[in-house]
């Protein structure tokens, strides 16, 4: 097994541990239902019977008690973050090792492409988690996605190192794929923020089915929504640039800047959907929740392009190998 394989195993395991820690934090962390129930019980015992009727908080109400009363589980969230940092370092090592071994940018085939895109998403996420402690719970969605994507990359997509096929031997390879990966990483984190916003705002609106009960654990809805918008607003021009650079490259490689190849079709679809998101976000008569759902659809079209198109359709983009 090449050296990147060792790091890859570490990466995926790292994200898995981080995921478990995040999940445990949801279950047993200071804000969790279980923890609060325990705290409440203790209070009830201390305060005696009558308080039950009068002062018992609604099970879903925000915790009024400072979480410090449950020291056992306060380390879960920081631990999850630290493990994410470790997994991210292994992730970086995986991509670097692969890149060194191949002697080129690490996005010559789908395995390398997915690994680099997800690495960027982790970097963006950690940056935000440091700057905005309020969003750290969002990590569960992120590492969950990372486990899935890096896992699929490692188990299904991984291929031995090979030099680039002649079609990829171009400066546009760096420009086009680099910008597309960057935008994808940003969209991924933006998507996670949108999901968080949808759950939290749904919870605030009284929804209690599905995932909505978890909403009470998440950052404030407005923060998540803002964050999501800013990430999308950053990603969209980069995506636009990446698609335009792809068109310039296609002109040199295939003789036409746009030919409705399946990858091009789905890049166009994502672009249109994200433009729709920005419009919806800017229109006061469209609710923020509708806009967030559009962002979620946008991410689904991105996934369709990444996996669906490479696997189900054949087009000019299929040279990198699935």
């Amino acid at each position: 097994m090449a050296i990147d394989g060792v790091f890859l195993t570490l990466t995926v395991s790292g994200y898995m541990v981080a995921m478990l820690l995040h999940a445990a934090d949801f279950a047993f962390g200071p804000q969790s239902h279980v923890a609060r129930a325990a705290v409440r019980e203790r209070e009830l015992v201390g305060a005696g019977g009558p308080a039950v009727v009068e002062g018992a908080p609604h099970p879903y109400a925000a915790p009024e008690v400072e979480p410090s009363s449950e020291p056992r589980s306060r380390w879960l969230l920081p631990a999850a973050l630290i493990v994410t940092v470790v997994a991210g370092a292994a992730h970086l090592a995986t991509v670097l090792a692969r890149s060194l071994e191949a002697g080129r940018m690490p996005w010559g085939n789908m395995y390398e492409y997915v690994m680099t895109g997800t690495l960027l998403a982790t970097a963006i996420w950690l940056f935000m988690a440091v700057k905005k402690p309020g969003v750290r719970h969002l990590g569960l969605f992120l590492v969950l996605t990372q486990v899935l994507l890096t896992g699929v990359a490692g188990i299904v997509l991984r291929k031995p190192v090979a030099p680039l096929v002649p079609a990829l031997d171009s400066v546009w390879y760096v420009v086009h794929v680099g910008s597309i990966i960057t935008a994808t990483g940003l969209f991924l984190v933006g998507f996670a923020a949108s999901v968080m916003y949808l759950i939290r705002s749904g919870y605030d609106a009284g929804k209690r089915t599905w995932f909505y009960p978890y909403g009470r654990l998440l950052a404030n809805a407005e923060t998540a929504e803002r964050l999501s918008f800013r990430l999308h607003a950053l990603a969209f021009p980069i995506w636009t640039f990446g698609v335009a650079a792809g068109a310039v490259w296609a002109e040199a490689a295939w003789g036409r800047y746009w030919g409705w190849d399946p990858k091009e079709v789905w890049a166009f679809i994502s672009w249109v959907i994200y433009a729709g998101y920005l419009h919806a976000r800017a229109t006061p008569s469209v609710s923020k929740r509708t806009a967030a759902w559009i962002a979620v659809i946008g991410w689904l079209t991105m996934m369709m392009n990444l996996f669906g198109v490479n696997i189900f359709f054949t087009g000019l983009h299929s040279y990198g190998g699935v």
Binding site: V165, D169, R256, G259, V265, I273, T283
Partner: protein, 478 residues
Amino acid sequence: MKPALAFLRNSWRQLTSMRTALVLLFLLAIGAIPGSILPQRRLGETPVQQYFIENPKLAPVLDQLGFFDVYAAPWFAAIYLLLFTSLVGCVLPRLRDHVRALIKTPPEAPKRLERLPQHTVYGTHPTLDFKGWRKVRREHPDGSVTISAEKGYLKETGNLLFHSSLLVILAGVAIGAQWGWNGQRILIEGADKPFCNVLYQYDRPVLGPYVSASDLPPFCLELEDFQASYLENGQATSFEATVNGGQKFRVNHPLRLDGANVYLLGHGYAIEARYTDAAGRVQQVTAAFPDNNDMMASIGVLLFPDANGGDPKNQIGFEGIYLPTAEGASSLHPEERNPRLTLIPWKGDIGLDAGIPQNVYVLDTKRMTPFGERKTLKKGETQTLPDGSKLEFLGTRSFIAISVRHDPGEPIVLTGAVLLLVGLPLSLYGKRRRVWLRLHPDGTAEAGGLPKTDYPGFADEFEKVTRWQSTESFSPSR
């Protein structure tokens, strides 16, 4: 008359509303999907025919609705044309308002500055440096003075630029479709196999409605050399073609000629063979075997229409498989390390002179009968057929598949894309905001600030702008 006008005005208002734009954007995205799922004529006819065979009931219906050429279908055009109409209807009034805003001075300060999101008061008249702001100073009868300052016009400029650039791109695409042309062609190595840029020499020419055959620029190409290099596992690392006395081009680096570009799309082996019929007449061909895989296992045909006196019932044709590095029925490497040519002979009507243009790379054996054994040859070997005629495998040459194109819309589309990329960040990150300063006659002063767009950092900026920076003594007249 009146209700009709009202209806028109209402429809126009509906069409140019943001909600309609949103719906149309969604329709556009959904409308694009079938083009990635169903086979498209623009990418090749064969998969479409295959689809017709597999879905004989559904395919004609889909065809009627344009689903095999989605991006040229009337309903797809209807979506984007409505969207662009809506866009124009949206951009024009905004353009007018924006120009007005640029000409007009920033508006007078609101009466009650303390109601604004940002507000601060001074005990004396401050000297504020509104550097980089558009500002106007107004004196009032009651002795007070107001300064209105505004910034961030680039946001709206960017927005208008961005939306207009979409129209530029659309125009470029349309011009390319009307005045562009392209064709594909196989070019075999050798001075005896030149290609000249005339319409009938192309396999699949496509001319825009405003292009005629005589508009094609005159030039000829002659393939002098083709070099491909491969790894040991057969993966290609480079291809390079040399034409016309040393002009080289390769994948990603087309040959740019005056009035057309030549792109290297593929390559393969062409088989040279000589057929000597029973009467001793000799015919020689060089036939490209264009249907090849990664290891260059190639399929093609050798046609000898003039064999046996050219009698349509006694023409000779061979179906062939060429393996450059043969190992059983497959090729292990694209280079010629152990070349083998396997031929299946047929006799009868090849159909070449039936007047129907047909694919010269497959043999139509409908009016033919098998003629002897299938045989595998090395270079230089000869196969003898039942009537004593002979086929000799002389050798191979390289061929390249090229696409020749001219698209006059390209520079326009590129310009549009650049404008779009300039306008987009301005529009997304620009922030329109206003700050007012009111100097009261009693010597006190106050300032207020209003962000016109979502702008979390405005408080900081307001604080900076309204901090009294001047160390000079106070001068109320400035």
